[in-house]
């Protein structure tokens, strides 16, 4: 392994270390005294990575490939299931796919090191057959059906299709029944080869564990020769929403709505993008979060239910804010959002409110360090976004009222707005 770099924040009493294994695998480790230990192995291959160049060729794979591969990697060489292996040692395993990564994880109270071997084995060495892929397809199709029939999920993806012209983030993570039907074992093997090289994988571990033992297991299980990693290709997106409004009729108890603002992030450096994202997240919570004056007044007027949220999501190729909820008068809510944005643009940002919102984010950060699992997630996401989690309190300080106001004015640009509504039959 390369030199181990220790990172520490003495003020809050937290530390972790990072090193790069000779295979190219990046490892982050947080030693702690919690009862449970946790490991998460993430490939930088997500649902949005449907076009890439690898070995001199360009490939386009069906929507839902990353998610399908996630399901299939649990199959072991003898046709068994990695869950069985974890169960033998009492570990609880799971996996998930997001737009930018696929992650495999387990938590364990004892026998952590054996479970780590299992994790590295099944993720790095794929085994599946025509038959088993066919069987999995049926399960995935049923899973997709449940998402399709969810009004809130449908509303969200209709909004994504308004915001984006062709970026794959506009499609459901699992794909569609039609796209899943096109996935073959060859597609899955190709993507595994292109994206599951150790160079493209991050392993994050948190627990009361020995770093030397972890290093030995990685030496034993992770091949040292890199075969190269695919280069992702994303379409160039216009700097505006491609459609302003989507109205969908479906069976639901009441109207659902999603208000979206598209961001332009691809020309920014990691540092600029992260600072901007932090500012937008704080502003979204401050003005549209559960404790905001905006939400509480809509709630008290009976215009929205309690399921109301504002979230900013981003990567190096896309960024958007979504304000989602349900209520009887979605177009009234839309007008209120637009009016409120206009008012803030004119009046500026209240410094006291901003400080209060920064407290909320600081509290969320400390809370996330409270178990091995949440600590590991925090390390993973910060690493993927390109910043050090223990700098978070300082990053918060850097969001001044002047900076936040500047971001607000440039971000909330009407041409980037879109609105999606689900209207009950």
């Amino acid at each position: 392994m390369s030199e181990i770099v220790l990172r520490e924040n003495k003020k809050i009493g937290e530390k972790y270390c990072v090193f790069r294994h000779k295979s190219g695998l990046t490892v982050l480790f947080s030693p702690n005294s919690y009862s449970g230990s946790f490991a998460i192995l993430s490939s930088k291959f997500g649902s949005a990575d449907t076009e890439f160049s690898y070995g001199g060729k360009t490939y386009k794979v069906p929507q839902g490939t990353a998610h399908f591969l996630e399901h299939k990697l649990f199959e072991t060489e003898d046709g068994g299931d990695a869950f069985d292996l974890f169960a033998k040692y009492g570990a609880s395993a799971n996996a998930y796919t997001s737009s930018s990564v696929t992650s495999y994880l387990f938590s364990s109270l004892s026998d952590f090191y054996v479970s780590l071997e299992i994790l590295l084995d099944f993720v790095i060495h794929p085994h599946f057959t025509e038959d088993s892929v066919e069987r999995e397809r049926k399960i995935i199709e049923e899973e997709l059906l449940s998402y399709e029939e969810s009004p809130s999920n449908r509303c969200f993806f209709e909004l994504m299709r308004c915001l984006y012209k062709s970026h794959p983030v506009r499609e459901d993570i699992g794909g569609t029944a039609a796209s899943v039907a096109e996935i073959t074992p060859d597609t899955l093997y190709l993507c595994h080869k292109a994206f599951y090289d150790p160079e493209n994988i991050i392993l994050v571990i948190a627990g009361n564990l020995d770093i030397e033992k972890i290093g030995d297991i990685i030496d034993k299980k992770v091949p040292a020769i890199s075969g190269g990693v695919a280069e992702k290709i994303y379409p160039k997106e216009p700097d505006r929403a491609v459609k302003k409004l989507s109205r969908t009729k479906m069976f639901s108890s009441m109207p659902f709505f999603a208000f979206g603002v598209k961001d332009a992030v691809s020309d920014l450096s990691d540092t600029e993008r992260n600072k901007r994202a932090l500012a937008i997240s704080i502003l979204a919570d401050m003005y549209f979060g559960q404790s905001s004056e905006f939400f509480t007044s809509l709630y008290e007027e009976g215009l929205v239910t309690g399921d109301f949220s504002a979230e900013y999501a981003y990567s190096s190729s896309y960024g958007h804010l979504t304000i989602t909820g349900a209520g009887r008068k979605p177009f009234t809510v839309k007008k209120r959002i637009e009016k409120y944005v206009k008012k803030i643009k004119e009046s500026g940002i209240n410094a006291e409110d901003l400080e209060l919102s920064k407290k909320i984010f600081y509290s969320g950060f400390i809370g996330s360090l409270q178990s091995s699992a949440s600590y590991a997630y925090e390390l993973l996401y910060c690493y993927l976004e390109g910043h050090d989690p223990l700098n978070y309190p300082d990053e918060l300080k850097s969001i001044t009222p002047e900076y936040a106001y500047g971001v607000f004015k440039s971000f909330f640009d009407e041409k980037r707005f879109a609105f999606s509504v689900i209207e009950p039959f």
Partner: protein, 424 residues
């Protein structure tokens, strides 16, 4: 981890748990009410109204601003069923004082908000604000009607209503739309006053060490409460059924669901629920359980399956979510797997089930919230306040014969099926 429990007065218990690893403080105050449709509706409605404001912070915005200033302290008011009791639960989570960077006394502030929420609500001429009650009724009715948007959640709720339809002591969470509509500001205020005056209550605090603020909070709150004996009837038997009852409903959804409702035949007051919990772990509780491996993985009959045990009610609900076309085959395979559990459980399954159950249980000790809930639910159910380590020891003592015997005692009482509506 240190544990301390005392009875503050008749029916009012106080539990304090400390462990230096916790970064947040958690405090729960829960009131045990009799169940039934009316109480279920009133309990949840009350939780909603009290979480909107109090005398000191008379609007949702003002209350939220105060919580934000306390480093985003999280106030939650809810109601849940514990056995046959309807339990309004008031709960606050806040960052430990050592993380305060501007001298704010987060702990005291958070406990004060919780105390004010429970004991000093906003009222108009002695009753809750009519508009708050009206608004909360609307929210709750929307919530209940909205369950239809998720066929799985809808099946879960409907199957319980079906199973307990002849038992006036049981109600699904939040009661019914009719019961909610009947409530008004006066009747809800009366229910609230009755809760403070007559209900047994449990207060549970979890923190990183001993802090006198918790004892003060508990004794101040107890001062305001009347206490009392249990109103609920946990030991009672649900009305038994003879033949397997069936109910099929339709929904405009291609997703379907099957729920198999069983009586577990155990005595809820015996505290031997760990045998059934282990049975459940082996049968349906994980990705290596018999149901998951056979019904989902091997036969691809469903995309989700499992079973929920209703400890205080000696009931087990086995569930599978599947396309309507697969429901009959899915049900048949579940019943076959249930029969097989009566024949044999291998040593491998037993050991893996024990490890999985115990590791999940013991890992949850890292969470102050899970720790608080562990003791809160046990005390509310009148069970011995065992630590998780003691409970794990009991799980580890279970034999394969006890599991097959538990399976033999399980009687299928009813099958609920939710199908796609035809010609829609």
């Amino acid at each position: 981890m240190d544990y301390k429990r005392e009875i503050l007065k008749n029916g009012i218990g106080f539990t304090l748990i400390t462990d230096e690893k916790f970064k947040t403080d958690v405090t729960y105050a829960a009131f045990k009410r009799g169940n039934g449709v009316k109480n279920a509706a009133y309990s949840l409605l009350l939780a909603g109204v009290l979480s909107r404001s109090c005398e000191k912070y008379p609007s949702l915005y003002k209350l939220n601003r105060r919580l934000d200033a306390l480093y985003d302290a999280q106030l939650d008011c809810d109601s849940r069923s514990v056995g046959l009791a309807s339990v309004p639960i008031f709960h606050i989570r806040s960052l430990n004082n050592r993380y305060s960077y501007d001298g704010t006394d987060i702990r005291k502030g958070a406990l004060d908000v919780l105390y004010d929420t429970i004991t000093a609500p906003k009222t108009e001429n002695g009753v809750f604000s009519k508009s708050d009650v009206r608004g909360e009724k609307l929210q709750l009715i929307d919530h209940i009607n909205g369950i239809k948007d998720d066929p799985c959640a809808y099946a879960d709720r409907r199957c319980l209503s079906f199973l307990f339809k002849d038992d006036p002591r049981f109600s699904p969470r939040g009661g019914t739309v009719e019961a909610i509509e009947e409530a008004d500001a006066s009747s809800l205020t009366e229910y609230y006053r009755d809760m403070l005056a007559k209900s047994p209550a449990e207060i549970v605090c979890v923190s990183d060490g001993y802090h006198p603020e918790f004892e003060k909070f508990a004794s101040d709150l107890a001062e305001k409460l009347g206490g009392g004996a249990n109103e609920s009837e946990d030991g009672g038997k649900i009305i038994a059924r003879g033949d397997i009852a069936r109910m099929t409903e339709t929904l405009r959804s291609r997703q379907g669901a099957v729920r198999i409702l069983c009586d577990t035949g155990d005595d809820p007051s015996s505290d031997r629920g760990y045998v059934l919990n282990l049975f459940n772990e082996i049968f349906a509780g994980s990705a290596v359980s018999r149901l998951f491996k056979n019904v989902r993985e091997k036969l691809s009959l469903c995309y989700s399956c499992g079973a929920d045990r209703y400890g205080g009610l000696h009931k087990l609900v086995i569930r599978a979510d599947a396309e309507s076309a697969n429901l009959a085959a899915c049900e048949a395979e579940i019943l076959r797997q249930l029969e097989l559990m009566k024949e044999k459980v291998s040593e491998k399954e037993l050991e893996e089930g024990k490890r999985s159950l115990c590791e999940a249980l013991l890992s949850s000790a890292d969470s102050p919230n899970s720790t608080a809930l562990w003791y809160l639910i046990r005390t509310l159910r009148g069970l011995e306040p065992l630590s998780r380590e003691e409970y794990a020891e009991k799980v580890n003592s279970v034999t394969a014969e006890e599991i097959t015997r538990a399976a033999e005692n399980i009687k299928v009482e009813a099958v609920y099926t939710l199908k796609e509506a035809e010609n829609e």
